[in-house]
């Protein structure tokens, strides 16, 4: 059995199943306690792993794993090794110590929930565990959490035959191996936050904190598909009387929710779990959660934007399940703060999200009447149609054309005919000295605004209007500048309704009225600058990048599948005539390419072209986005310098944080183009504050 476990470990390593491999190491270590495995051979295993950790020219993320796997097993077997192999254990400690002190930690900054080193340091995961192990060692390896059923059989087991572990040859590093990314340990409570009379929260460097957190995360992992059972399992934690359990549960869940680059599960999975916890234990959980929200809000000044977004999304969702009851009154001080400060921004974004889940009057009713909360209330989500008869700021000729268009649409004439009502509108570009202007921004604006105005009643109405005029809109947007005009018109009419803007852009991307690159350029355009510190802008950008990534992934998957089929067909029997005949027959019958059919070389070539094309689009999208970030940030820094002002303002922090967010959220996709980004954009000319984010991003995998 020992041999088969050791073989499993090797296979896990080969297949990059790092968590399983880590648990195997831990299990093998625990077997020393029951005298199944000899202490000496476990030390040998650790030595081999340390050799792998010290191997030069391998990524740090790989080397870290070996050290982490040893450290995470030591709480199980430390005492036994201390008694039997103290010198070896000391030697191991020295090696790890020097390893830890020489590590590069460039990734740390970008993975912290809070950039400032607040009350509770956000420690790097390996370093934190190392401190915990050192403390454990100083306590003579005594810990109080691990369940050790074998103790009852100690006399029996002590006579058992001990086995040696077979030597482990860790598979060598190859380019295709993916290692776990570094993490930061999320901490928001210490013992002073918990009730005085209850059990004491283990300190940040006590091994119990690590063991219990890990245990709770495991319970979460195993039960998350069934949120009710998950809540019950967490609350039934075996040693619940020894720790302030509610605090530890909430800390673990919020830590997972805020985890960077991305949480493991859907955000709503954590949200609905917390609702369930509140319902299961209404006497304690709601208070602990409220306390947590206050603490998070207190420290929001330096919270990174990814965590900020998730916090706002979760909190508004949570409130929507509990009648929006909250002590809003306590947050009135933020009414006095400047607009871009994270505190008023947070309240504003939460209320905006509450509005999306309820309705305008409800949000007006939940905030305190007597205070000036209107400042932070979202505007009423109504359209601002420009071409009404009473708008004196618009040329009457244009208003008449727009009114004719409305009448024509309402008469249900064909879209082509309706569009003719705009044929005489002047082209502002021509008047500005561009006689060959290929598109007419005025026509676009009148058409888009009018269609959206007529379809303002609901998403479905708006979608129907877009669908009916799809051909015309598509033809109008044959230039990227024209697509940006379309997007600008969406903003003009719907800037008070960010959700509407988001779904409209989504729809326009899907129906190919606008392209991803146009959306990116529009978001960074001068018109949108005043909204750059708001969440919805980044929701739209994120959605745009995801669309592109999905398209690339889909084409790549299809290509891989076809290649696979071609290979399979080639190896089966060299494709006999009858088979080819059969294939053709089926094709005719269904009128489409059957997925099971053997692809031809030409088909594969065509698919390869498509994939390449999509990848180029994706690369260009990232180039646009990062170039825009570099431009606006550099300009800002230079402008502040010439004005003799400090550039580290709220605006700067927000924008730099959003740059970081794009790197983190889409790290897998961005990673493919790191070289291009390095040579074209993040060069030595770029201000070091900006290029630092790129360096941090690269450190995630180095």
């Amino acid at each position: 059995m020992v041999e088969s476990m050791a073989k499993h470990l090797k296979d896990y390593l080969k297949n990059c199943e790092w968590e399983k491999a880590r648990y195997s190491v831990r299990f093998l270590s625990d077997l020393v306690n029951c005298h199944v495995v000899s202490a000496g051979s476990l030390i040998q295993l650790y030595d081999t792993m340390m050799e792998a950790a010290l191997e030069p020219n391998t990524p740090q993320v790989r080397r870290d794993w070996f050290v982490y796997a040893i450290l995470s097993a030591l709480p199980w077997v430390g005492r036994e090794l201390f008694e039997k192999k103290e010198r070896d254990l000391d030697r191991l400690k020295e090696t790890i110590d020097s390893y830890i002190s020489r590590r590069v930690k460039d990734h740390l900054v970008s993975l912290r929930v809070w950039t400032g080193q607040t009350l509770h340091p956000q420690e790097e995961y390996l370093e934190c565990l190392w401190f915990q192990i050192c403390k454990l060692r100083n306590d003579y390896w005594q810990e109080k959490h691990i369940v050790r059923p074998y103790l009852a059989f100690d006399t029996l087991l002590s006579e058992a035959l001990q086995h040696s572990l077979p030597p482990l040859n860790p598979p060598r590093h190859t380019e295709s191996m993916v290692y776990p990314m570094p993490k930061v340990i999320f901490r928001m409570f210490d013992y002073t936050d918990c009730p005085e009379l209850g059990p004491v929260l283990p300190g940040a460097h006590s091994i119990e904190r690590y063991l219990i957190e890990e245990h709770l995360s495991q319970i979460l992992d195993q039960n998350i598909p069934e949120r009710k059972e998950c809540a019950a399992a967490l609350l039934a934690f075996p040693q619940k009387s020894k720790v302030p359990l509610e605090y530890m549960i909430i800390e673990v869940i919020l830590g997972e929710l805020f985890r960077l680059p991305t949480p493991q599960y859907l955000e709503i999975a954590y949200g609905s779990l917390m609702i369930e916890l509140c319902k299961s234990q209404p006497s304690t959980i709601p208070q602990v959660l409220a306390q947590a929200v206050e603490i998070l809000f207190d420290r929001i000044d330096t919270m990174n934007p990814s965590s900020f977004d998730r916090f706002a999304n979760w909190f508004s969702y949570h409130l929507s399940n509990f009648q929006f009851k909250w002590s809003w009154y306590d947050w009135t001080p933020c009414l006095e703060m400047e607009q871009d400060h994270p505190k008023p921004r947070f309240v504003q974004e939460v209320l905006e999200k509450c509005l999306r889940l309820s309705y305008y009057q409800r949000v007006v009713d939940i905030v305190p009447k007597e205070k000036n909360f209107e400042k932070l209330l979202p505007p009423k989500p109504e359209p601002r149609y420009k071409y009404t008869e009473d708008n004196n700021n618009v040329d009457p000729v244009v208003v008449i054309a727009a009114q004719n268009l409305i009448a024509s649409v309402k008469r249900k004439t064909t879209p082509e005919e309706a569009f003719l009502t705009l044929r005489d509108l002047p082209n502002p570009l021509q008047e500005e000295g561009e006689p060959d202007a290929p598109y007419n921004p005025l026509k676009i604006d009148v058409l888009v605004q009018t269609l959206l105005y007529l379809g303002a009643k609901s998403f479905t109405h708006a979608f129907q209007a877009l669908a009916k005029y799809h051909q015309i809109l598509k033809a109008l947007g044959s230039y990227e500048e024209a697509q940006i005009c379309i997007l600008r018109s969406v903003y003009e009419i719907w800037h008070d309704h960010p959700q509407m803007m988001t779904v409209l852009v989504d729809k326009m991307l899907r129906t190919e009225i606008v392209e991803c690159s146009a959306v990116a350029n529009w978001l960074f355009s001068r018109d949108m600058m005043q909204d750059l510190t708001r969440m919805y802008i980044w929701e739209i950008l994120d959605m745009t990048i995801r669309k592109m990534s999905k398209r690339v992934a889909k084409l790549e998957r299809e290509l891989a599948e076809s290649k696979e089929k071609l290979k399979a067909a080639a190896t089966s029997d060299g494709s006999s005539d009858s088979e080819a005949e059969y294939g053709r027959g089926r094709k005719r019958k269904h009128g489409v390419d059957m997925p099971s059919e053997k692809p031809t070389e030409e088909m594969i070539e065509r698919m390869e072209d498509k994939v390449e094309h999509a990848q180029t689009d994706q690369k260009n999208l990232f180039l646009i986005i990062f170039q825009r970030f570099i431009m606006i940030l550099s300009e800002y820094i230079v402008r502040c310098d010439t004005d003799g002002k400090d550039f580290k303002t709220h605006w700067y922090r927000w924008t730099l944080g959003r740059l970081q967010q794009v790197f983190l959220t889409h790290n897998e996709q961005v990673h493919r183009y790191s070289d291009t980004l390095e040579t074209l954009l993040f060069t030595s000319d770029v201000d070091s504050h900006i290029s630092e984010t790129f360096k941090q991003f690269l450190a995630l995998r180095s």
Binding site: L266, I268, A269, N321, R356, S358, Y359, F459
Partner: protein
């Protein structure tokens, strides 16, 4: 037939959503359900006579996996202070949006 119906339910990406308030809008439903994935469309249930919302709708996802997430994490939680009930639906057919008036 019954087996066909059962097979359809195992593959569908559409959910029937019930116990909504008559005032709950498509926008609210979109906001809540899109937390589980991209939505293909929402069809509001309407009163047969007045053509006004009457407490149910169909939510269709692009992906089955996303619909499963909604069954897990939205079903039984609140929207407009009412407990939302979701169930698999074999797929929307024109005409089914009209409830019993």
């Amino acid at each position: 037939t019954r087996t066909e119906q059962e097979r359809a339910l195992l593959q569908t990406t559409t959910l029937y959503v019930g116990n909504l308030s008559f005032f709950t809008t498509e926008e609210q439903i979109h906001e809540l359900f899109s937390k589980c994935g991209d939505l293909r469309r929402i069809i509001m249930g309407l009163d047969k006579v007045n053509r006004t919302p009457c407490g149910f709708c169909f939510v269709e996802y692009y992906l089955r996996a996303d619909a499963e997430m909604a069954m897990r994490y939205v079903n039984g939680t609140r929207l407009d202070d009412r407990i939302v009930r979701t169930d698999w639906d074999a797929g929307f057919v024109e005409g089914r949006q009209y409830g019993r008036g």
